[in-house]
Symmetry: C2
Amino acid sequence: MDWREFDQNPVSHSAAHHLTAIQQLLEDQGYARVSDVARKLGITRGSVSVSLKGLRQRGLVVEDQHKHLGLSDEGQRIARGIHTKRVLFQAFLEKSLGLPADLAEMDACKIEHLVSDLTAEALAIYIDRREDASDSSSDREQQVNALEDSIREGRVEAFPGKEIETISERLQSSSEEQSKDKDDE
Amino acid sequence: MDWREFDQNPVSHSAAHHLTAIQQLLEDQGYARVSDVARKLGITRGSVSVSLKGLRQRGLVVEDQHKHLGLSDEGQRIARGIHTKRVLFQAFLEKSLGLPADLAEMDACKIEHLVSDLTAEALAIYIDRREDASDSSSDREQQVNALEDSIREGRVEAFPGKEIETISERLQSSSEEQSKDKDDE
DNA sequence: TCCTCTTGTTTGGGTACCCAAACGGGTTGA
DNA sequence: TCAACCCGTTTGGGTACCCAAACAAGAGGA
């Protein structure tokens, strides 16, 4: 598998944030201009101007006669998809893994545009089923406690600690067995 | 929160793969040279030569008198961490979310270097607890079935479909409630 | 010895981002 | 009317990657 698949995504990290920024500005204030996007993303107007030129050529962003920005159908679809992925991952990291909200937000932001649609779909189904099935609050509490124990013991300081690496090795060897079984078929 | 945190990671996607490639080559064949790394990553020797110059300056990669590459302690720690994260995420995507192995591998590869150590730690704990707790095979089967239903219904074609977006909206509004509660305190 | 192969490096070109700075067009208050 | 200001765009510079191509150095085989 080519490890460089990462940069042949539908949209880059930068593009993802430009699109979602426009979408959010439209929701919040009814319009979006280059300056608004620049302010929201914390970069210069010049950078946004250039980036949007590309997105306009790709047909994701449109502009009316008053320099007001909008999203094409495809642009909307992409922006919605990214937003959905962010929400799903943030919720999973926070509620299932027990991570603090700010860290969950940051990690979700980093990966939102990278994961495939099918992965997001599967995560949604997974979260949905867990929520129905059990008293998730006590579940989450247990996870938070386990995590805090781990932090207290200082394992995270030198990642990966011994315990986590044992788990990782076990997972790896079990998946190797599986692929061996597959070869035997 | 600054959305550009993504590029101020300990190592870039490229660097991550250079380091893990060296580590794996050392395991597999006992040595690693520029050409070996280039072959493994599918890029030219020239690119690897330049990239490794930077990693050597950062003290992550070392070189003996015979042009044989190695990892410093810090380099080893980073490579091990990335590898561990890849294994954890791949296992989660495949076994808990029921994704096909190749997709799980691809998505894990994309995010392995981005997630924080604490997130990986939490995921390890999470996986570990689930494995002990329940008959995970039937769990996984259920998840796979649910996912296949979803695919059959063609929801993934136009991501995000209605159902998944409903879940996402619910998650979002519940987390907004939470932060409102926090403000009231 | 000489030819050939492999190896590692350097160089010039390309892409995708970012910034700072300058410029031209509007709007607005004095 | 005109200076002050905000807008969007363009331009030159910087970083981090990639490639292709040219080079020098070493290792062998004929």
